[in-house]
Symmetry: C2
């Protein structure tokens, strides 16, 4: 079990063997990356400096025949938020990378000219990428595959990452786009003049301990996954749009709206599938296959086939922007993927711009011909391009809503819906108040994936499956702290193990996963040890952030989510009582009332 380090400034390379005990404690993926980040005190570097590291770690289970074991994490210090960053992604690249002989890759320095790194047959090389620089993520894949063959998988940045756009992503698998989307990791990669990491998959997957045991364990869960997650298989996450709207959970009009039933049905996955569906797509080893390819119906790429928009993208370029035309959502999604822009932060910052425009806060000179009115699909496409190339208004929007807001007067800050600098994901904490804790305490900022507790509150993943009660009052405060903590400690494991969090939609429980870990590693690994590892990793990331100045004062939400009642729809009348839930949460976590892990908590978890 070893990692590779490459300094792009000097070309220096180094292999380090990581003791098995470290894997047992931090598992791999973003867990092990955080461990190394902390040990080396990488927090002190400036995120876009040469010294800044990009840590790319596959999960402990990635690449094996385990449901959804397809993930890798891109980690470091976020250029967008200034705190711990991770972006975990599936597709086929991570499993291919797992055959490179390395569990992780740490890239520092900055190449003089654009380069890419190419792995094949246990070797690697730093190669010239001047011919790729400027290409979008789809054509980057095409060009590298035509050079190295079809079995070559690629993680690449688009123009946005090249231009150090703070909401840029690292893109995987070309048109079947999967994105390491959040925290501006594209900019971090771009700042190193690193265009892509290409891997030609080999048969060199590290051997596992108990192949039969693993097959057995896998067989046990597959039928339930297929049954319970059928909705995801049929329409992808996009299928959830109408239900989410009905629950008052869909953010509308930059979080000011209350209900949008007609819009939600017009842009739902079902409606899109009817008109634009081409075929299903699954990540490596995934029985759910939530990906959909769709025909792009509008814009300069009209007629091409591309990855269909997922729930968050529809929420963003649909409801958030009051855009009812799915054609523009598909085109916006496609354009973001090509440019390498996170669709969540990208749509947030465009909805933010629409609200600025409504309040006449954008200077004429910056607008040019653009009229970013609510629902204007053409304006959305133009702004995406401006963001990628930092032109016009895009220069400001490229910084994310928190930084952009500083440029348009004090009222603009009211429209910037973020926490710790990360645009809030698209499940409303007013609909399911446990999400207020998840967003406020998320180690990478306001990320829904750090807890996914709306799945518990709406019973898609009953909390009794993790030993809690099932009933929660969606708008209440009782027991939300324990729910949030428990799910965070569980969810953090997925990014360390290389699994997709949608497994919980298939009712996979900690005991199932512990079996897989035991079968792969030969450890006598049980549920309890695993959940303790989850708690350890969550606290480790917190201590990284504490070192960067994070405490209770940062564990908050923007006033729009704490003060602005939706007034219509199922969440009308609900505002999360964040203070009360947080106080309880800190206690459960063994943190001080200021949100700092107590010495005894760190000691119990073996963190010091």
């Amino acid at each position: 079990m070893k990692i590779l380090e490459i300094d792009l400034t000097t070309g220096k390379q180094k292999e380090t063997t990581i003791p098995e005990e470290e894997f047992r404690n931090y598992l791999g993926g973003s867990g092990l990356a955080a461990r190394i980040f902390k040990q080396r005190d990488y927090g002190k570097v400036s995120p876009l400096s040469e010294e800044a590291p990009l840590l790319i770690f596959t999960g402990l289970l990635t690449g094996y025949n385990i449901p959804t074991a397809c993930k890798a994490s891109f980690c470091g210090k976020s250029p967008a938020t200034g705190i711990w960053a991770e972006a975990t992604v599936g597709g086929y690249w991570p499993a291919a990378f797992k055959t490179s002989g390395y569990d992780g890759l740490i890239i520092t320095g900055k190449a003089e000219q654009p380069v890419y790194i190419y792995f094949s047959n246990g070797k690697f090389a730093i190669k010239d990428a001047t011919g790729l620089w400027g290409e979008d993520s789809y054509s980057t894949l095409e060009k590298l595959q035509s050079e190295h063959g079809e079995k070559t998988k690629v993680a690449a940045i688009g123009p946005a990452g090249e231009n150090e756009v703070l909401i840029s992503a690292i893109m995987i698998d070309g048109l079947d786009a999967r994105a390491a989307g959040r925290c501006g990791m594209g900019a971090l990669m771009g700042s190193k003049n690193l265009k892509a990491i290409a891997v030609t998959k080999s048969d060199n997957l590290p051997p596992l301990y108990d192949k039969e045991g693993l097959a057995e364990a896998r067989k046990k869960v597959l039928p339930t996954i297929r049954e319970k997650a059928k909705g995801l298989s049929d329409f992808g996450t996009a299928g959830g749009v109408p239900v989410v709207e009905k629950l008052g959970d869909l953010p509308i009009r930059n979080w000011t709206g209350g209900s949008w039933p007609e819009g939600a049905s017009l842009v739902s996955g079902q409606a899109m599938a009817e008109k634009f569906f081409e075929k299903h797509y699954a990540c490596y080893a995934c029985p759910i296959r939530c990906g959909k390819e769709m025909k792009v119906p509008i814009g300069p790429y009209s007629g091409t086939v591309s990855h269909g928009p997922e729930y968050e993208t529809i929420a963003g370029f649909g409801a958030m922007c009051l855009n009812e035309d799915p054609a523009y959502i598909i085109a916006a999604n496609d354009l973001c993927n090509r440019m390498g822009i996170d669709t969540m932060s990208g749509s947030s910052v465009i909805a933010f711009a629409m609200e600025l425009y409504e309040h006449d806060l954008i200077p004429e000179g910056l607008l040019g011909d653009i009229k970013p009115e609510w629902g204007n699909g053409e304006a959305i496409l133009t702004l995406i391009r401006q963001i990628a190339y930092r032109g016009g208004l895009g220069e400001y929007l490229a910084r994310g809503v928190k930084r952009a807001a500083k440029e348009f007067g004090p009222l603009a800050e009211e429209f910037a819906v973020e926490s710790k600098g990360l645009e809030v994901a698209y499940h409303d904490p007013r609909a399911f108040t446990s999400m207020a804790i998840i967003y406020a305490t998320g180690n990478r900022g306001a990320c829904h994936l750090e807890g996914l507790t709306y799945f518990n509150e709406n019973r898609a993943f009953p909390a009794s499956l993790v030993g809690l009660k099932d009933d929660y009052e969606p708008h209440g405060t009782d027991d939300k702290a324990l729910l949030a903590k428990t799910m965070q400690d569980f969810m953090v494991l997925f990014n360390a193990l290389g699994l997709c969090k949608f497994l919980i939609r298939g009712h996979v429980v900690p005991a199932n996963i512990a079996e897989w870990v035991s079968a792969v590693t030969g450890w006598d690994f049980n549920e309890k040890e695993m959940l303790t590892a989850g708690e350890r990793i969550f606290n480790l990331k917190r201590t990284i952030n504490v070192g960067l100045g994070v405490s209770r004062k940062d564990d908050t939400l923007p006033p729009r989510l704490l003060v602005h009642d939706r007034q219509e729809g199922a969440a009308a009348g609900s505002l999360p009582h964040l203070g009360k839930m947080l106080f309880e949460y800190y206690k459960l976590r063994g943190w001080s009332t200021e949100g700092i892990p107590l010495p005894e908590t760190l000691e119990r978890l073996g963190l010091d």
Copy 2:
């Protein structure tokens, strides 16, 4: 009805007559001052620049034989908070100033040498104060009285104001100290090289319309005031300490403590009176006489007689600092008064320093010999002096907790308990949640006097006296928004009329006050017109702040009050649900969800 303007740079003077209609709409005091501040767009100036104005306005009723009609307001842009500032004060100076022939005084510019302004017999002069510069507020009064006679009343700054300490006050009446305490008005005065404003009282009180009617109206209320406010008469506000502690309303240990019954009884007004009482003291025209003179028992001024500490001062130098020795509280109060430091912000910033010290966040070099441990009375006295002269640690503390926190690392911000830059007053919004709205929306920051709704919640002033229900769940959220709005619109009138807010402890109601206004002015003034004027003035100040960038994002409280449960005592388990209350409050106010007064609201109130 006229105001005087003096430019201390040029010596230029100007008299302006204010139309009666302006008085009827804005009444006087800080109401009329805000009107002129807004009209002249004074918000754009830097608070300590030559252009910055200091507006000093007596109330419409000040100086007449009306209970507590003793007040003047010092207004401007706060050097501490950067927003609207007012500090209203009683004593004898305001009533004396009322005989100067002016209702208000606007001072701009900066004198080349220290000066004071002297009013007598309808004349005034700018006089040399080089011999007064450096004197404390007591000796400034003494020197000016020996020059101009015993009938001379003085508003002066101490060394703190001279040194532009951002928590400095303007002091009135020497040892019978009354303070225009909050918002750093001492620094604003000091920045003009203006040491004092002295007035020899004349008989030139403007005639009133209906002397007999006024006498009648006065007689009606006096017995109730005397009966209901007897506690204040006996022990001053200091008498409330044990009750306030019992209600969970007393801030303890920089707002982290829950209960402190022994301490509260040791430092109560009753306990102090027993040992140190000298005599009662009343402001002009006040039947309550809450002031107490006490012997200073300790420190360099030991043995002298001085104004006894009031409730907020005891809460600050007692409970907030965990100091159980009343001797040090009396000495700290006396020293703050001499130096011209606001005892509320002064004690806040010292409690803050004690918490920094506990967490080892103060560099050795700044500490010198001082050990600001909890309860260390000597450290309190040393720090007050350092603040006044901006020496050592005092250089930072002199800036108030918000700015000071920036100097001691990110965790320090957790210990800075302020809103809009003003240290939170000493009634806990966790004990009476309506106070969360009062603090969050206070036009000068986290001031209790803007609403005083704990008096409604604890029934000292039943809300039915202003037409509301009497019953409030202290820790709940229901009906708090209406209570807060109603009381703000009522309380804002006192600073415009020149009355003391303790009248409500004597159950004086709006109808009583409207009678007084009618008798003095001859207007047919009723309760409704008066309360509308209150709403107008409150909104006017809000629009001034909106112009300075204030909106919903600023209407908040520090995490210590929103997240930190007191855990012990009567407020254990209570945290204000500020978001829910604020949303309702904005609606009642006719403000947007972002906290901006709507055009129709401004129009209804005649503000545009």
